[in-house]
Every structure is written in structure tokens, then in C-alpha cells.
């Protein structure tokens, strides 16, 4: 009997998003496997039935695959491929045949026993083996159902906007139910967040809760149901108020996403036509999809130190090469700025320690690399090799003067020539430096002559300029990005780059903080590099501002003296121009244009 009392179930958050709709239960009945003895003269007929059932099963899976698109996720197609391979696996087929021949059991029972034996080999309690056990089970079930002439896959198509509720779903069911993207949400009683169904739901961006326990017992076809995939909550028969609340939350979420998508492909261009490039700071290749989804046009800072972390041996040239190449290929022709190791100080390979009194001023970054040419050489070789496969740019950190730039470039040329002489494909990448020491900022005009681009690392530049360690609670209050000395420093760098005709970017935290965006526009930076999620907001500010008002604001604050006065001025200007911005709410202003 349909219950109208609201019931809330807590499951596992498998795929984020909110869905509100009518329940569509899918009944996957377990098959009862008959058992009987077969006579000697029946054996051949039984074996022929097995052949036919496998043939039909392969045909069914091919049919499911044909309905899918590559866009449904490679993992999804791969699982169907695995099931297909399992159908013809000698471990299954030979063992089933043997049981029919030697033990004279019917083929349904033989398949069931062969499957049970195979499952025994996956008898370990971890996610991978659990998933494989269920793969084996689905495959066996398909053969047995086909032998018995029962329907295997879901035959009915749910009405658009339905929420599918099932005890569990086979990968084939999942494919058939979701491939046309008309289902609004999914709830299963069983399953974990790494189950195939959960992976597919995430790939297709369908809100889903798995492991909800007894959803099929509570919900009936046609009941209202809410799926909050981000929190793993399911509400069956929600009250009118609850439904309205969730519906409102769903619409808000959709609007936010629509906003993000709309901005994603729009250029970061001011109303007076100044175009900036929005780049991302990343540490792992896994961050690339997120960066692209936020509209990242390249990688402005790829930190390579993590290759050192948590391992005893130094990373090899191959480790670097594979890593860079994978990122270059994932970024598909967009620029990827590889920063050579910023090691030393607090960041050293396992087992090494810097015992110097003052590591921040010690043997780190490019200094460390020049002292350990073998470590550096492997990285440079990998970089020139990877550069043959994409738009790689190389950048040296912590440069204090010309000698270091020349030494590093010399080593790069040496690595390049060595690789080329070995007949390995390579390309000489554009070379830049991080401007993060006051000495480099002051010498920016000279350094710009030696390199292809400059990138300002504001975090360190601010610390070294003001002489303050922001981790030190006693002096952290002195850390002021809008300190007049910092602003003058920044302006001299951007002026020097412009005079030399070299592009200049910023990759510190300042770049991703919308409070500073107008000031940065005034400075005339070519590229801003930040964490992916910061891109949309900064881009909105750029798109509704003019470079001219940025320059005017910059001129105004350069006329002030104290950091507090400057910050007050910037804040009031930003609040006036972009109400709500600094409270984290959406910026008011034109989006298109």
C-alpha cells in the first residue's frame, strides 16, 4: 500500500545535484536456477543450449553498447566490454561444459556453479573485488535468464523526468535507462560510491544516492521523491513544503551552473576591449578537467614538487616526462607552464632536511637545482621531450639575478642538445622566470631581455618585500598585498615587461581574489593564473569593468601612502562598482556583450 507519510532515507552521496520527480521503480528479480540431472544422450543438446545462450548474451550486450555514445564515459563502455569478454571466458565456458559432461547436470546449474567458483577467486573484501564479484554475477545471471527464456534487461522506458528507484542495477540496465539522459535522478538500495552505477551517474551528471537501504520497500511507482545527491539524502513522499524547498534549491543550483557554463566559453575581456588569459594553478593532472570546466585557458603554474613527495627515490626522467605529457595532452594545445622544482626550505625529498637557520633565504628552488645538476638535468630533459607533444612553457622559480637565468638556460640548452643528439623528439620551450624576489622585480627590465615571459609570484614577493613571514602569528598582520612598496614593485615589473614586449602573468593568490581584479587590470597584466574555481568570479569582474577605470584606480592608490588607506580605497571602489561582490554573492553587472 502506498504510504503518504514522508520518509527520509540516508544513503551514500553518489552523484551531486538535486532532483525532484515521480518514482519509477525497476524490479530486477533474481533468477531461480533449476537443477536437474541430464541423461548421456542429452549432453550435446545441453552444450548447444549453452552456446546459444552465450551467443544471445553477446548479442544483447552489443545491442546495449550500440545505444551508448562515447560521451557516456569510457568506463561505462569498458564495463560492458568486460562483461562481453567474461561471457566467452574459458574459466566460465570450459568449467560449465565440464560440469555438464562429467556431472551430468543441466547447463543452468552448471553455469551457476562455474560462476560461484569464479567468485571464490575474487573473495577479498575490497572495493575492486566486490565490483568484480558483481560483474561475474551479472554475467552468470544473464546467461541463466537467457537459458530460461526470461527477459534480462529493463524493457520499459521511464517517462522523462522520472527518478529511478531500484534494488541495484546492472551496468547494462544503467546504460539502457540513462543513455538518452531523460531520467532525472537515481536511488538504489545497494551499492557503494565506487560502484559502476555511481560512476556512470557522475559521468552523466545525474543526481544519485546509492546504498539507501530500503528505498524500494518504501517508494512505489508514481510517488513523489526527492534525491539530494550531494548529501546522500532521499525523501519519499515529501510534504508540499519540503518539495517546494527542494525544487527551489534545484533551480538555484541549475542557475548557478548555467551561469558558470555561460561564462566558461566567454573571453575575459574588458568593456574597452582588453583581453586577458585566465589560467589555472595545478599540482596534479587530475585537476585538469575541473580547470577546463571553469573556463581555464591554460595552466599558468604547474607545481612539479609533488613528484618528490612521499617517495624515497628521486623521480626519474620518465616519471616527469609521462606526467608532463599527460597534462599537455589533456590540455589539448593550450599552454601549460611547468615551474621547475621549487624545492628546498620546507620542501625537500623524503629523508633530506634543511638544517640551515633561515631556509626561506637558503638553498631552494633554482639555487637548489643548480647545485644538484643531476636532479635538474632529468627534469629539463623530460621537459624538452614533453614539449614536442604540446604547448609547454618552462619557468624558473626564485631567480635573484641574471647569472642564475643564464646558468639555468645553459643547462636547458645542454639537455635539449643531448636529447636531440639521441634522436629523441624534442622541442625547445619558451622560457620564463618567476618574479618573486625584490631583486628580480627591480631588475625586471634586464631579466625581461633574457627570457620569453615573466610571471609574478605574489605570495613570495609580498613576503620578501615587506620582510614578513605570514605563518608567524606575531607579524602576519604586516602581510599586505596592497602595501605601497608591493604596488610599486608590481608596476615596475609590468612596465618593464611591456617595454621589452614580453608577456607578464601573475600566479599568486592575489590573482584569484576579486578584490584586486581592478588593480590588476590597471597594471596591464596579460594573464592571471589561479585555482580553477576562482576563475568565473574574476572573469565576471573583468567582463564588466574597463581597463581604463583600472588604471585610474591604480593611479589614485599610488598617490596614497599607508596600506590601510589603499585598501580602504580599493574596497570602497569595488563595493561601489560591484555591489555584493565582496560578500561572495554574485556580481551585479552585464554578463554578455
Amino acid at each position: 500500500m502506498a504510504s503518504t507519510t514522508p520518509t527520509t532515507l540516508q544513503g551514500l552521496p553518489a552523484s551531486p545535484g538535486i532532483a525532484v520527480g515521480r518514482c519509477w521503480t525497476v524490479d530486477r528479480r533474481r533468477v531461480r536456477t533449476p537443477r536437474r540431472k541430464v541423461a548421456a544422450e542429452e549432453v550435446d543438446a545441453e552444450l548447444a543450449r549453452l552456446e546459444a545462450a552465450i551467443e544471445l548474451s553477446v548479442h544483447q550486450l552489443d545491442g546495449v553498447k550500440a545505444k551508448m555514445q562515447a560521451a557516456d564515459g569510457a568506463e561505462h563502455l569498458a564495463i560492458l566490454e568486460v562483461h562481453r569478454a567474461m561471457l566467452r571466458d574459458p574459466a566460465l565456458v570450459d568449467e560449465s561444459r565440464r560440469l555438464v559432461r562429467e556431472e551430468r547436470v543441466n547447463v543452468e546449474w552448471a553455469v551457476k556453479r562455474a560462476i560461484r567458483k569464479i567468485k571464490g577467486a575474487f573473495d577479498q573484501d575490497d572495493e575492486f573485488f566486490r565490483e568484480r564479484r558483481s560483474d561475474v554475477e551479472y554475467v552468470g545471471e544473464r546467461i541463466v535468464k537467457n537459458l530460461l527464456g526470461q527477459g534480462v534487461d529493463v524493457a520499459e522506458t521511464p517517462p522523462p523526468g522520472s527518478i529511478v528507484v531500484a534494488r541495484d542495477l546492472s551496468p547494462a540496465d544503467t546504460a539502457l535507462l540513462f543513455h538518452d539522459r531523460k531520467v532525472a535522478g537515481l536511488v538504489t538500495d545497494a551499492g557503494g560510491i565506487t560502484s559502476h552505477t555511481a560512476i556512470v551517474a557522475r559521468a552523466l551528471e545525474i543526481p544519485a544516492v546509492v546504498g539507501a537501504g530500503r528505498a524500494t520497500a518504501v517508494a512505489e511507482r508514481g510517488d513523489w521523491i526527492v534525491v539530494d545527491g550531494g548529501r546522500g539524502v532521499v525523501v519519499v513522499n515529501p510534504s508540499a513544503g519540503e518539495r517546494a524547498d527542494y525544487e527551489a534549491a534545484r533551480i538555484r543550483q541549475m542557475e548557478r551552473e548555467a551561469e558558470l557554463t555561460r561564462l566558461k566559453d566567454l573571453p575575459a575581456e574588458t568593456v574597452d576591449g582588453v583581453r586577458l588569459r585566465m589560467l589555472g594553478n595545478i599540482e596534479f593532472g587530475e585537476e585538469v578537467p575541473g580547470l577546463l570546466s571553469h573556463g581555464g585557458e591554460g595552466v599558468g603554474l604547474y607545481r612539479t614538487e609533488f613528484l618528490f613527495m612521499g617517495r624515497d627515490a628521486l623521480p626519474t626522467e620518465e616519471d616527469h616526462y609521462r606526467d608532463y605529457r599527460a597534462i599537455l595532452e589533456a590540455m589539448d594545445g593550450r599552454p601549460v607552464t611547468v615551474r621547475t622544482f621549487d624545492l628546498g626550505g620546507d620542501k625537500l625529498p623524503s629523508g633530506q632536511k634543511d638544517h640551515s637557520e633561515n631556509p626561506a633565504l637558503g638553498l631552494r628552488a633554482v639555487r637548489y637545482c643548480l647545485r644538484h645538476p643531476d636532479v635538474f638535468h632529468a627534469q629539463l630533459r623530460a621537459a624538452v621531450r614533453a614539449a614536442a607533444h604540446g604547448n609547454l612553457r618552462l619557468m624558473f622559480p626564485m631567480v635573484s639575478g641574471l647569472a642564475e637565468v643564464r646558468a639555468a638556460k645553459w643547462m636547458l640548452a645542454e639537455a635539449f642538445e643531448e636529447v636531440v643528439a639521441q634522436g629523441i623528439p624534442a622541442r625547445m620551450p619558451p622560457v620564463g622566470i618567476m618574479v618573486e624576489l625584490p631583486s628580480a622585480a627591480v631588475l625586471a627590465d634586464r631579466l625581461a631581455q633574457e627570457v620569453d615571459f615573466l610571471s609574478i609570484g605574489t605570495n613570495d614577493l609580498i613576503q620578501y618585500t615587506i620582510g614578513v613571514d605570514r605563518q608567524n602569528k606575531d607579524v602576519a598582520y604586516l602581510y599586505k598585498p596592497l602595501h605601497l612598496a608591493v604596488l610599486r614593485m608590481l608596476r615596475s615589473v609590468t612596465d618593464a615587461a611591456r617595454a621589452a614586449g614580453k608577456p607578464v602573468s601573475m600566479c599568486g593568490e592575489m590573482a584569484g581574489e576579486p578584490l584586486y581584479t581592478l588593480v590588476l587590470l590597471g597594471l596591464g597584466l596579460d594573464e592571471l593564473s589561479m585555482n580553477g574555481p576562482s576563475i568565473p568570479l574574476v572573469k565576471r569582474v573583468i567582463r564588466s569593468a574597463s581597463a581604463r577605470e583600472g588604471r585610474e584606480l591604480l593611479d589614485r592608490i599610488l598617490g596614497l601612502t599607508t596600506a590601510d588607506d589603499i585598501e580602504r580605497e580599493v574596497r570602497s571602489e569595488m563595493t561601489r562598482r560591484f555591489p555584493g561582490l565582496l560578500e561572495g554573492a554574485a556580481v551585479v553587472g552585464p554578463v554578455s556583450g
Partner: protein, 90 residues
Amino acid sequence: MHRLERTFTIVNSLGMHARPAAMVVQTANRFRSEVQFEKDGLQINAKSIMGVLTLAAGKGATVLVSCEGPDAAEAMEALAKVFASGFGER
């Protein structure tokens, strides 16, 4: 009849999960030779997806591959490519 043996290291971060397993089984099945994988004392038929999956070879694991038969060298070469590519992953 010639028997070849060679050790490969799993280089992709996810290891020999479902998709790579299907890939190596497909490759092994293109040849007439017998192909066996061995890892941690467990030996399996590389033409069996079930077998390959039971190895659950993660990143950094080494797998001893042996090929025996008329086209053993070709089979080994084809498998070497598959392993070296990290199964087309990273």
C-alpha cells in the same frame, strides 16, 4: 616451440583495473600462443578476463609474462606495447 618470459611494471595510476584487463585479454587472444601472467606466485591464463582481474595488479606491481607457441615473439611484442603505454592511461 619457443618460450619467452619478460617482466613488466604497471605504470598507470589506476593499475590493471577492468578496462586495461579487457585490453590485455583482447591482445592475448589475437595470438595462437599460450600466454600466462604471474604475480606474487599466482599464475593465470592471460586469455581469461576473470584470471587477469584476479591479479588486481596495482601501480608499480610487476607481472611476469610468458608466451609459448608459434607466435610467441609477436605476442610478447604486442603485450609489451600495451604495458608500456600504461594501457593508454597515465
